[in-house]
Amino acid sequence: MATYKCSSCGGTYDDVQRDGALYRHVCGPIPNPAFNPIPGKGAVDLRETLERANKRDENATRGLIYDAGRKGYDTPHPEDPASTIFHPGPIPIVSEGAGRTAV
């Protein structure tokens, strides 16, 4: 287990939980500078926030299956849907963002 600081949002987190599960960090939204709250309205409004441009999302890319025998994964061939392209290595995360550093 290691503790990381996300270079996109500045949040810190442990990559493995106490139960052994991986923790997949995803950056949260940021305040929306263009949002003008209605005075006295008092209710939350999702327009108060917007997605971070360089958001880090550590979830594995959906729809890909890791081939344990060949230690890689396949993606559909863009020109021939009946065939696939093999990529060695782990399934990439959704978005690296600005990366992370161990703390």
Partner: protein, 306 residues
Amino acid sequence: MDRQSQDPFDRTARSGGTVAVSHEEFSVQSQTALVRFLREGVQPPSVVYMGIDDQIQIFVSEALTPKTLNVQGRWLRAADGLIVPFQQAVAPTVAGGTALFTFRLGEGFLLSLTITNPSANISESSDFALAALSRTGGLFGQAGQTLCAGHVGANKGTSFPLGGIVRPLDGPGYIRSITGTTPALGADISETVPSGARWELLAFQGALTASAVVANRQPWFVIDDGVNLLKRSLSTQATVASTTSTYYADNPGIAPQASTQSALWSTILPIMLAPGFRIRTITSAIDVGDQWTSPKYLVRQWTDLE
């Protein structure tokens, strides 16, 4: 007249002084079985006949750290008619996604297959495995037949032919206590349901330490689907400058603790959350020097094949 053609009910057929009863007076109360079993040329009981091009695919979805699963079974080899045991170790080396392991046995009948998890102290429902028979192979090949599927916990597993087929989202799920991301100074909490997971949120808490800047910070507890606001609850009290308040999401009717250090978000729990849904705070009047601690929350999780 030979013995085969003798009529046992013929009164004229005498045997040791005993007179056989007439068939008009005798009725058979039982009958012989209609089914006869072969002693030679016996057909296999399995309906799964594997050709030389068929392969067995094991799909594994592990929410926790990667573990090695055992695949064991027996098959009737067509070449010599022998029952051959087999064993394969499936090491996905990936967690939080779906991994595939493929192997071939040869031409013959699959008699049994069992997937077990030899790891101790593993929740019964944390890992899921599915066995299928495939001809085309590859990750995008078509599965010819699903053999068995189910959750594989410590020394428990799923098996063919009697194990059945359970879907990944069936069953009781498993309980997880999660410590989330500590946001940067001046930022709110945001926790995202990971891909492939379904959560039932049971409890949630986080603590806000306010800077010395004078303002009343009053946080909302928010559930959204990544785009749309689905649920919101305003805290019962604010956090003032230079103090720390711990906020708990709890059901309506729970009396807030009479303390300036503890406050409630009144909300209905549990709530089901799909992948990409977020649990957030939105804090009014938050200062750049305010600090949320890492949230702690309790969920029941199901892990899907992706």
